[in-house]
Structure formats: structure tokens, C-alpha cells
């Protein structure tokens, strides 16, 4: 019997009811919603003017929650109903007990998507794995509660109420959080996508609204006749019926339903996915994008109650979740991306032992997922201990579910966990960033092999029709860009290509994603672009089928420009050597060139090879190129000196703005690069961070983004970095970085800068060089990639020049011989 056990599939719906009074649905609340206060109903009924023309337009405004603030978090819950098997989600494939205890159910080790030598994800969680590799997934192991209950219903009640052991709980943790949120409206503060409101979304005084997954439009008036009907139906709740609380509650619910229909009807279009969780999460993303003020959205699916036929059932469900998460993040407007966290729940895990039906039975503790760009990726809690277990033994919990909730409430929902949970629980510190501050995905995808630099060549410019027909790339649109066999890139052996990817002329805030052709689109935001600015970024992209890289835009329409500056290929000698940063050009004070701004259309040569630590035979240099105080918008090009100037750009800039970008630059004769300034006049600064040559020894290895430091006190930091201050950042011994690493690729983010400043990163233990890596503007969050040699103690130092600012440093790759 492959059918899921529907008996447990929707235990959530069982818990959708409090059997007692219709709390939260009463007339008092309704009148508060319409802004009239208790007692206002009498006046409402008697006021002729609201009839026919007023009620809808004037009063419904009161229903709308205020928009979600730029630093307010949004949580999307994914219920895995029926009891998800944590041991087949995060698979302990390094543990022989796992295979001994569940033959026929265990995932073969070669199928596991390995995280490390001990654990890996289920093979159908490929997208989740890609997010994990980007440091955006926290996997909390061993989540449960004391005296685990094996009943679907009791255990789900414990999870939803967050009051384990309470018999017949009447409120849930999200509901009680909702009780404490200010503002008068709650229809759109929290919603569940489904047919009923589950217990965790019910508070003492408030509850979430329910939005059916098939949508509805009853309430969205098409003409005056609809309006008359809807207004009359709404007026049925304008005063108590005197028939008991349920009569009034139903009248109120009718008015609420009309309002929800009016607001959300337009979100339901024919192109929504049809699978349960895919559809629900797509709706959740649209609800967020609609900016109705949603802070918590609940979704769920199942059944995970795999007493029998688990291998196929469970794979299908996890696969549908993986696909649904991909759809969710692809649908989510980038302006909300750094404000959204997804978290799973399930009533329990399953027995470590399999049964005779290729299934597992009700268990206790299990692992859960917390996903988002603000999340501190990695494994949390203790791994389950399978040694010595017997058939009916259950796994002990090591993390209290209230601790997971507290971490999310305090880390992402604005705090107040002790009031919601009735006690203080350990903060697991699941977040690296506060809501709204994450930099988006790191720009680093894949590499390997030796680096071969090229004279940059343009493979895509949608403004002029290079590589694609002229015209901006629309929302969801993309282009395949042929890489192999062009501009000196060979037809074989290429692992990845180094691009300078630029987005410009965006009609809406959007982002570009680059990935290998023929593979599913990952959620990687390689370039975030606001309206009205051109933003470049260095991207190392794997090359896919047909020798191509796909580049897609997500929202609005955006022009895309891509320049190839080199590639990594197997068997090639181009190893990398990081160096202490060395300033090779500063036109403001005569380093590398006379003191003179570079004028419109002017080119200068800059000596890089054979200078400082860079040998004369270096083939390429890793440069940080900075333009400062340009008098006009324009662009800069860097290429090997003494060859024809290519039609490419390393930097695009706006008037007055200081912008830096990491650049892999092929060196020309005499170790020189040429630098061209297109418009206006500008000062330029170039720092060399490393080089490639036949004598260099290190290769670049990508890793999941790994947090090295975060100065914000809410994230464990000691406070902002002050003016003229230096902060050490230990690299060796952290995350996946081996002790033999000689350099590191960092994604450095600066937030909350109080003044315009610059940051310098250099190997610790050495004198601070006169270089810079990132140029924050006061009040603007900015980021850049930094390739850096490690100091003798395996650390780098970070210096801030002016004002105070917060620094967040992630390692996204390392150099090793």
C-alpha cells in the first residue's frame, strides 16, 4: 500500500479547533478591526451614509496591516505532517548502526548528498543542498520535548502549543506572538494557506486568517451589484445577533472572508503550481510579494507517516518539498529575500529501526530545517546516538523545540520569546544577519583546476544585441551564453569561467543568476541591482551543456552584460599565489601614475607584474579596482596592455559614487594592465591581492559560505568597528578551511556605516598596507569579494578608516597547495 497514511496526514487539521468559545472571532474584535471600538456597532447600523457607498471603501482600509518594515523578519512555516523521518532527511550515513537498524529503508551511502563524512541530505534534496552549500540552511538535530508523546495528535499539540505536557492547549506559539504584536489589524499579519487555521496560529486574543490554496474571489466586487451584496453581507455582523457567540462569530467570519477575497483574489492565477506544497509555498511567496503586512505564513503537507513503503513515499515528498522551495525562492521578490526565513515542523521523528513493511513507526526527536539568507548555515544540536538502540527505542531529544522557537522569535520575529513561551530557552543563534541585512548569496559558484587569464571579451550585452537579441531581459527570462570555443576559451577541459557580470537599467529591483546550462536554476543571486544603478560583480560560474552558461533575470526587465576574463581548467598550470595587498595605482597621490584624474576616453598603463611580491612572469593578477569620486556616470575597462582595447568593463559607476570590484586580470607585456575611463573624469585605485603563474602553488577551492565574524551584538559580536580601528579575523581552524590553506576568498559586508569610509583587509601580523577592499557609503549596505593571503597565525586583519560600522565576513573559498 503506497498510499500515504491519511490518518495522520492532516493531524494539523485536527488541531485546528479549540472546542470552546469562539475566542478571537467575536464582535469586539471585528469592531476593533473596522476601527470603531466596542459599541460602535449600534451607530454603524443606524448610519444611513455607510449603506451602499461607504462601508467598503472607507472602513476596509482598517483591515490592512502596515507593510513589513525593512528590518522586520518574515517566517514561513512548512509542516511535514505525519511525523517526518529525520534519519532519512539528514542521513547519518557514516554510522553503521543506521544501516543495521533499518535495512530496506536506509539510504545507500553513495546516494547521500554528503555534507561531511558523517551526515548528508536525502538524494531528493538537491536544491536544499545547494542552499546549504551557500551557508543558508541551519539543520537543527535532535529537536523534541520532554516526555515525548507518540500520538500524532498529542505530539502535534505539543509542537503547536509550545506548551508540552499541557492537556488540551487552546493557543499556539505563533498565535501568542501575534497577540503581542502592535497594530489594530491581524487578517494579514499571519495566515495559513489551507482550509483551516491550525492551533499554532491561534492566539488568546487573535488568530491567523486562512487562505484556501485554490483561492477565491468572492469579495472582489466586479460591479455595483456585487458591491451591494458584499456590503449587505458585511453589515450582517454590524451588531450582535443575540443568538450566542457562534452566530456572531460566523457573521464576522463572513465579513472577513469577503475582505480576504477582495485582497488576495488577484494573486491566484492559472500558472500556480499544482502540487500541494509547491502551490502553497508559491502562494506564500506571492502573499509576501503583495506586501500585505504578512509576518508569518503557515503551509503544510504530507503524509510523512511512513509505516509502510517509506522509500518511495518519503522520496516523493522530500522531492516535492525541494522543488517547492526552489519555486518559493524564485518567486520571492528580492527585496524580501533578506527578510524571509523558512522553518519546518513535524509532530515527531520515526523509529531508527525499520519495520517489516519497508516503513518506520512513530518516534520522537528529529531534525528540522531553518532556511534563509539570514541564517547561520550549518549543523546545530547533537547528532542522534543510534548505538545500543532496540526495536522500540526512541531517540532522545537534545534540543527543546521551544529553544528552536525562541531562536526564531528573538532572532527573526523581533523578540519576546519568553512571553510567548512562558520561560527562557536557549538561543541557538541560528542567524548570522538581522532581517533585511543579509547580502544575498555569495557570488562564488564553482572552480577547480588552474586559472587561465584572457584578454576580456564580451559575450553578452542585451543593450546592443551581443550574445542575444537586443532588448532587456524580462522577469523570469534568461539567455544561454556560449562560452567554450570563444575568445580563447578551449572546447574541452574547462571547469568554470570567470565572468564580470553587470546588471543595469533595471525597471524593478531584481537580481541576476548565472548557472551551468542544462542544470536546474539554483537560488544564487549573483548580482543584485536596484533601479537606476549599474552593478558589476565577479562571478565564477560552472560551464554547462553546450559549453554555455545560463543567465536569468527574476523581476521587471534588466539589461545584462557579461565579460569573460578567464577560466579554470583541469591540468592547467595557473595556480594562485596570494600576496600582501599592494597598492599599484592611486591617481590621487601619484602611486603608479602621475597625480591626475583620468579623463573621459583616456587610458593609462599600470605596472603590476615585477613589482612588490608579484613576479615578472605572472600571467594574471587578482586586483581590487576602485573608482572614486567620478564626475559622471561611466565605466572602466581593464585589459592587458599593448593589445587592442576590448569592449568590456570591469566597473560601472554612477556620478560621485565610489565603487570597488574584484577583477581577475590578465597581464600584458612588461607586467602591465591598461585602465580606461569612459566618461567624465575619475580617480582610480588598484590594489593587487594575488597573482597566477607557473610557479604559484595554490588552487582555489569553493566552500559553503562560512561565517567568520559578525560585529553586531545581536549576532554575538562586540559592537561596531570604530574609526581607525583594526579587528583580527581568525580563518584557519574555522569551518571547512584546512590548516594547510594559504589564502582565503571572503565575502565582506559592511552594514550601518555612520560615515563614508573604507575597509582594508590584510594578512595579520604584517604592517597595514595602503590598500582598500570596500568603500561603504554612510547608511548603505555594501559588499565585495576579497581574495586574501593569510597571516602567519592563519588570520587576516580588518581596518576601518572612518565612522563606525558593522562588519560581517564569510569565507566562500580558500587557496591550498
Amino acid at each position: 500500500m503506497l498510499d500515504p497514511d491519511i490518518s495522520a496526514a492532516d493531524s494539523l487539521r485536527l488541531l485546528s479547533v479549540a472546542d470552546d468559545a469562539p475566542a478571537g472571532l467575536n464582535r469586539r474584535r471585528f469592531l476593533q478591526l473596522v476601527g470603531m471600538g466596542v459599541g460602535g456597532g449600534v451607530a454603524l447600523r443606524g448610519v444611513e451614509s455607510v449603506w451602499g457607498r461607504g462601508l467598503a471603501g472607507a472602513l476596509r482600509e482598517a483591515w490592512a496591516a502596515p507593510p513589513v518594515g525593512p528590518n522586520e523578519g518574515i517566517v514561513v512555516l512548512v509542516g511535514m505532517l505525519g511525523g517526518n523521518d529525520g534519519l532519512n532527511t539528514l542521513v547519518p550515513y557514516g554510522d553503521g548502526h543506521y544501516y543495521d537498524q533499518r535495512p530496506g529503508v536506509a539510504i545507500p551511502p553513495e546516494q547521500v548528498l554528503a555534507i561531511d563524512g558523517a551526515v548528508g541530505l536525502h538524494p531528493r534534496l538537491g536544491f536544499l543542498k545547494s542552499l546549504y552549500d551557500q551557508g543558508q540552511v541551519a539543520i537543527v538535530q535532535g529537536v523534541g520535548y520532554p516526555n515525548a508523546d507518540l500520538s500524532h495528535f498529542n505530539s502535534m499539540a505539543n509542537w503547536m502549543s509550545a506548551q508540552p505536557g499541557t492537556s488540551n492547549p487552546t493557543s499556539g506559539w505563533v498565535g501568542r506572538w501575534l497577540d503581542g504584536v502592535g497594530g489594530s489589524a491581524d487578517l494579514f499579519r499571519a495566515s495559513t494557506v489551507g482550509a483551516s487555521v491550525p492551533l499554532h496560529m491561534v492566539g488568546v486574543t487573535r488568530q491567523a486568517s486562512a487562505i484556501p490554496e485554490h483561492g477565491f474571489t468572492f469579495g472582489a466586487a466586479a460591479d455595483v451589484h456585487d458591491t451591494r451584496m458584499f456590503d449587505a453581507l458585511t453589515q450582517m455582523s454590524a451588531g450582535t445577533g443575540g443568538r450566542g457567540p457562534w452566530h456572531d462569530a460566523m457573521a464576522t467570519m463572513l465579513a472577513n472572508q469577503l475582505e480576504v477575497g477582495r485582497q488576495i483574489g488577484p494573486l491566484f492565477t492559472d500558472d500556480l503550481p499544482t502540487g500541494t506544497i509547491a502551490r502553497k509555498l508559491a502562494i506564500a511567496a506571492r502573499l509576501i510579494n503583495a506586501d500585505l503586512g504578512m509576518r508569518v505564513i503557515d503551509t503544510s503537507f504530507g503524509s510523512f507517516d511512513d509505516h509502510a513503503g517509506e522509500p518511495s513515499n518519503h522520496a516523493a515528498l522530500l522531492g516535492s518539498l525541494d522543488d517547492a522551495l526552489r519555486t518559493f525562492f524564485a518567486t520571492l521578490d528580492p527585496r524580501f529575500r533578506s527578510r524571509v526565513t523558512v522553518m519546518t515542523y513535524s509532530e515527531f521523528g520515526r523509529t531508527s529501526f525499520g519495520n517489516d513493511s519497508q516503513g518506520t513507526d512513530h518516534g520522537s526527536a528529529s531534525c528540522h530545517l531553518v532556511i534563509g539568507s539570514g541564517v547561520r548555515g550549518g549543523l546545530f544540536g547533537a547528532a542522534p546516538n543510534l548505538a545500543g538502540l532496540q526495536r522500540w527505542d526512541r531517540l532522545g531529544h537534545t534540543v527543546d523545540l521551544r529553544s528552536m522557537y525562541a531562536s526564531v522569535i528573538d532572532g527573526w520575529l523581533g523578540g519576546g520569546s519568553s512571553a510567548v513561551l512562558g520561560g527562557t530557552f536557549e538561543d541557538l543563534r541560528l542567524f548570522s544577519y538581522a532581517p533585511g541585512t543579509a547580502p544575498g548569496a555569495p557570488a562564488f559558484v564553482a572552480s577547480g583546476g588552474g586559472f587561465v587569464p584572457l584578454v576580456p571579451f564580451r559575450v553578452l550585452d542585451t543593450r546592443s544585441g551581443i550574445g542575444a537579441p537586443p532588448g532587456a531581459v524580462g522577469a523570469g527570462g534568461g539567455v544561454s551564453v556560449g562560452i567554450l570555443g570563444r575568445g580563447g576559451v578551449p572546447n574541452a577541459g574547462v571547469v568554470s569561467v570567470v565572468l564580470n557580470l553587470t546588471a543595469t537599467d533595471a525597471t524593478e529591483p531584481s537580481y541576476l543568476t548565472a548557472w551551468p546550462t542544462g542544470r536546474p536554476m539554483p537560488y544564487v543571486a549573483n548580482v543584485h541591482v536596484p533601479v537606476g544603478r549599474a552593478v558589476p560583480n565577479c562571478v565564477i560560474a560552472e560551464v554547462g551543456s553546450g559549453g554555455s552558461v545560463d543567465i536569468a533575470n527574476t523581476f521587471g526587465a534588466t539589461h545584462c552584460i557579461a565579460d569573460v576574463v578567464g577560466y579554470f581548467a583541469q591540468g592547467m598550470p595557473g595556480r594562485i599565489e596570494p600576496v600582501t595587498p599592494d597598492r599599484v595605482l592611486d591617481t590621487r597621490n601619484g602611486i603608479g601614475a602621475p597625480v591626475s584624474r583620468i579623463g573621459a576616453g583616456q587610458t593609462i598603463d599600470v605596472v603590476v607584474g615585477g613589482r612588490g611580491d608579484v613576479p615578472a612572469d605572472a600571467q594574471a593578477a587578482i586586483l581590487n579596482v576602485t573608482v572614486t569620486s567620478p564626475s559622471s556616470a561611466g565605466f572602466a575597462t581593464v585589459w592587458p596592455s599593448f593589445v587592442t582595447q576590448p569592449d568590456t568593463s570591469v566597473l560601472n559607476f554612477d556620478r560621485g559614487r565610489t565603487v570597488a570590484n574584484l577583477c581577475f586580470a590578465k597581464l600584458g607585456k612588461e607586467g602591465k594592465v591598461a585602465l580606461f575611463n569612459s566618461h567624465g573624469d575619475s580617480d582610480y585605485v588598484i590594489d593587487v591581492l594575488g597573482y597566477t603563474s607557473s610557479s604559484a602553488s595554490a588552487r582555489l577551492v569553493p566552500i559553503p559560505a562560512s561565517k567568520l565574524t559578525d560585529t553586531r551584538p545581536g549576532n554575538g559580536g562586540d559592537g561596531p568597528l570604530g574609526p581607525g580601528s583594526t579587528m583580527p579575523v581568525q580563518v584557519l581552524g574555522r569551518g571547512a578551511i584546512p590548516d594547510t590553506a594559504t589564502g582565503v576568498l571572503l565575502n565582506v559586508v559592511v552594514a550601518e556605516a555612520s560615515a563614508d569610509s573604507y575597509l582594508t583587509v590584510w594578512p595579520s601580523g604584517e604592517a597595514r598596507p595602503t590598500s582598500s577592499n570596500i568603500n561603504p557609503e554612510a547608511g548603505v549596505t555594501s559588499s565585495n569579494l576579497v581574495l586574501m593571503k593569510l597571516g602567519a597565525d592563519g588570520a587576516v586583519d580588518v581596518y576601518n578608516d572612518a565612522g563606525s560600522l558593522h562588519v560581517i565576513v564569510d569565507a566562500v573559498g580558500y587557496l591550498v597547495a
Binding site: 497514511d5 490518518s7 493531524s11 447600523r45 484556501p212 449587505a232 450566542g244 457562534w246 463572513l254
Partner: protein
């Protein structure tokens, strides 16, 4: 002479709607005689239509829809439908779902048990349901083997069917699961069969007694032999009956009184239900306003009051979103009352259904008079047709609507509004 309001309440709760013919027949009687009239339905043996008596694998969904229409229409057609109401109760109590059983014929076998023994003996029903193919599949009895017990049925039997949470230990679940090993299906004849070789006949300790327990012995121990457990079970069922017919959270005195009747009759349901329907608390305002019509009750009421049939309204399209689809309960705990149905999403499905019914009603001309009736006359005719009395805010809203609207929309939208008025949704 019973109070007409009490009679109407009695009928709404036991027969889905208070039909005028039934009110006039019962209100001349003392209340106890009226209750007896409701309960003393002749014993029947349901004949399952050939269309759904056995599974036709390539028409599985069509068979499900047939079964749904057949039962919902029967709730409307039955002259004295208390057995249909109790069959709905047992369906929500000894839950199985077509979603997992996936065989309409086997769902019908179980339905026939619930319907034929609707007012029968609780213990006999428990024994009967334990051997039904639908239950053996739904709670994994067929996967409960001597060498690898599956606890699903043993656990839910005690938690949800006869005792309630907290009345047994994990060890009792383990023992009961072993006792139920070997009760399965003969797939060649597609019938229930006990497989002795797959039954664990070793000693098991259940509720403190060690012996070679078997499955039926577990039910008999709880519902016959262990006086303390039988008492717990009597309260468990009494509470659930009260919550189904009267209101949630019954006073303990009511639960004890009905439970005592169950014990005195050795778990016969009809005397207990009679005692329930004669309790003064059943006629309190709390009870009369204490239940929201379930989707089944709402659909049946609308059909009964408009003359439409399932074939006209296709409730299979809207009932799942309302939150209740017969033969497809959401989980083994069945459906819960009140707040479960009152949310924006479930309400949207009721608006869908009301709209659908409206179009069907407007295909004829019976309601054309609403286009021109005075507001008072229009409201009166709607109240009579739908057997409701509008509360003041609803009446004011309807009156305002009739004063403002005209022509086709006046009749059409008034019908929808009546079917959405809270009065029609109170059980």
C-alpha cells in the same frame, strides 16, 4: 406537549433539519414521546447499490462520488434520518478514509456496519469495525506481523476509539499491538482472515494481566471485563456523543449520567442517546446556540430546503474545502466541531456552494417573485423556505439590500445572501 422550539432543536440535531411535517407530528407529544419517535426507527439492513458494492478499479473516483451522492441524498430523503446522523457519528469516530483504503466497496461495507448498527451496541461495533477491511488497511493491521508488530491500530483503538489519552501505558500499546498480530486480509478472496501463524501467541502483559491475549480479547477486556476501564470507556463515549449532538465541553454531571446509562445497558447506544436527548441541558441556550452546522449538515439542510439533489450541486467540488468530505475524514481522530469550520478559507467554500446553488435555483422561476416582492414579503418567504428566523442585524442588512437592489440581481443575490446568513449555519 413539548415546546415547539425544543422540538425544532431536537429535530435539527437528530434529523439534520426541522421539517414542518415532523414538527407538527411531534409537538403534540410529550417530550419523552417525541424523543422516542425520533429514536424508534425500524431496524434496517442497508442494501449497497451494485454500482459501488465492489471496487471497479478503473472507476474508483466515480464510485466514490456515487457513494457520496447516495449517502447525502439519503440523509435528505430518509423520513426519520437519525440512523444516518448516527452513521455519520460512527464514521467520524471509527475513522477510515477512502484516501488510504482506496476501495469504495470496502468503505461501503463499513458504512453498512455503521448504518445498520447505528443505535446498536458499542462493543459489538468495536468488534465489527476491527475486522473490516477498510480498518485493517487504514490503521495498518495488515502490516501488523508477529515478527514486526505495527502499533497503529492498537494505539488508536485505545487513544481515539474506546478510552482516550492517558488511560494506558506504552507497555499496554506494545502488548495490544502483539495481541492484534495476524488479523489481516485473505487477498485471494478479498475478505477478512485471521492468520494463526502470523499471530504472536506468547504471553503479554496488558493492563497488568499476563496471558496470551488476542485482538478481540483486548476489546472485551476494555468494554466488558475490566470494570474500571469499562467505566472510563462509558464516559469517553458519553462525552463524544454529547459533543456531537449538544455542544463541546459538557458538564461532568451530564457525562456521568449518560455514561451510567451506557454501563447499565452493557454499552447499548440507544438508551444512552435517549438519556442524552432528555437531559434538560440539551434544551439550554448553551446547547441551542452551541454548534455550528458541519459542512455535511449545511449541504443537507440546503438540499432539504431547496429540493436540489447532489446531482444538481456537485458537493464533491466544494466540501473538501469546507473541511468535511464524507468517506474522507482528515485523520483518524475524525472531524471536530465549531471553530474547525469557521475560518475565512472554509467560509469561502461555503460561499462557493451557495453561489452554485443560487444558479441552479435561478434556472427555474420559483424565485422570480423576489425581484418584485416588498422587502418584508421577500424576507418572509426566504425565512419560511430556509426554516430560519433572521436576527436583527441580518434582517436590517437584507431589508437595506431589497430597498437598494432591483431586477434579476435582487432575487439572485438575495438567495445567496440567505444561504450565507449566519442563521442557516447554526446547527
Amino acid at each position: 406537549m413539548a415546546d415547539p422550539a425544543d422540538v425544532a432543536h431536537l429535530l435539527r440535531r437528530t434529523e439534520f433539519v426541522a421539517r414542518p411535517s415532523r414538527i407538527s407530528a411531534l409537538q403534540a407529544l410529550p417530550l419523552s414521546a417525541a424523543v422516542d419517535d425520533v429514536l424508534n426507527v425500524p431496524p434496517t439492513s442497508l442494501t449497497i447499490p451494485a454500482e459501488i458494492a465492489t471496487q471497479q478499479a478503473d472507476h474508483n473516483y466515480e464510485q466514490f462520488v456515487f457513494a457520496l451522492h447516495w449517502w447525502l441524498d439519503r440523509m435528505v430523503d430518509a423520513p426519520r434520518p437519525v440512523a444516518e446522523k448516527m452513521a455519520l457519528f460512527w464514521h467520524g469516530h471509527f475513522c477510515t478514509s477512502w484516501d488510504k483504503v482506496f476501495d469504495t466497496g470496502w468503505m461501503m461495507e463499513q458504512h453498512k456496519l455503521f448504518r445498520d448498527q447505528a443505535l446498536g451496541n458499542f462493543r459489538a461495533l468495536a468488534h465489527g469495525m476491527s475486522q473490516q477491511l477498510a480498518m485493517l488497511i487504514y490503521l495498518d493491521g495488515i502490516d501488523n506481523h508477529r515478527d514486526s508488530p505495527n502499533q497503529n491500530f492498537a494505539r488508536e483503538l485505545m487513544e481515539l476509539f474506546v478510552l482516550g489519552v492517558g488511560q494506558y501505558s506504552e507497555d499496554d500499546v506494545v502488548a495490544a499491538a502483539r495481541a492484534w498480530t495476524g488479523y489481516g486480509i485473505d487477498w485471494t478472496t478479498r475478505t477478512y482472515r485471521f492468520w494463526p501463524a502470523d499471530h504472536d501467541d506468547g504471553p503479554k502483559t496488558f493492563f497488568g494481566t499476563t496471558r496470551n491475549w488476542d485482538g478481540p480479547g483486548i476489546i472485551d477486556e476494555i468494554l466488558r471485563d475490566d470494570a474500571a476501564k469499562k467505566r472510563v470507556a462509558s464516559r469517553f463515549l458519553a462525552r463524544k456523543l454529547w459533543e456531537f449532538f449538544a455542544h463541546p465541553n459538557p458538564p461532568q454531571v451530564v457525562v456521568d449520567a449518560i455514561g451510567d446509562v451506557l454501563l447499565a445497558s452493557d454499552m447499548e447506544v440507544k438508551p444512552a442517546l435517549r438519556a442524552l436527548l432528555l437531559r434538560p441541558e440539551f434544551y439550554s441556550d448553551t446547547a441551542k446556540t452551541g454548534l455550528v452546522r458541519t459542512p455535511v449538515e449545511y449541504v443537507v439542510a440546503v438540499h432539504a430546503q431547496t429540493g436540489l439533489r447532489c446531482a444538481d450541486t456537485n458537493p464533491e467540488w466544494t466540501m473538501e474545502a469546507m473541511g468535511q468530505m464524507p468517506f474522507r475524514p482528515p485523520n483518524v481522530a475524525g472531524w471536530k466541531p465549531n471553530r474547525y469550520w469557521v475560518n475565512t478559507s472554509a467560509w469561502a467554500a461555503r460561499t462557493d456552494f451557495a453561489r452554485r446553488v443560487t444558479w441552479k435555483l435561478r434556472e427555474g422561476h420559483a424565485w422570480d417573485h423576489l425581484e418584485t416582492d416588498s422587502p418584508g414579503a421577500a424576507i418572509a418567504s426566504l425565512e419560511q423556505a430556509f426554516a430560519i428566523s433572521l436576527a436583527p442585524p441580518t434582517r436590517a442588512a437584507m431589508a437595506g439590500f431589497f430597498a437598494a437592489e432591483q431586477y434579476w440581481w435582487r432575487a439572485t443575490n438575495a438567495l445567496t445572501m440567505t444561504m450565507l446568513a449566519p442563521e442557516l449555519h447554526l446547527a
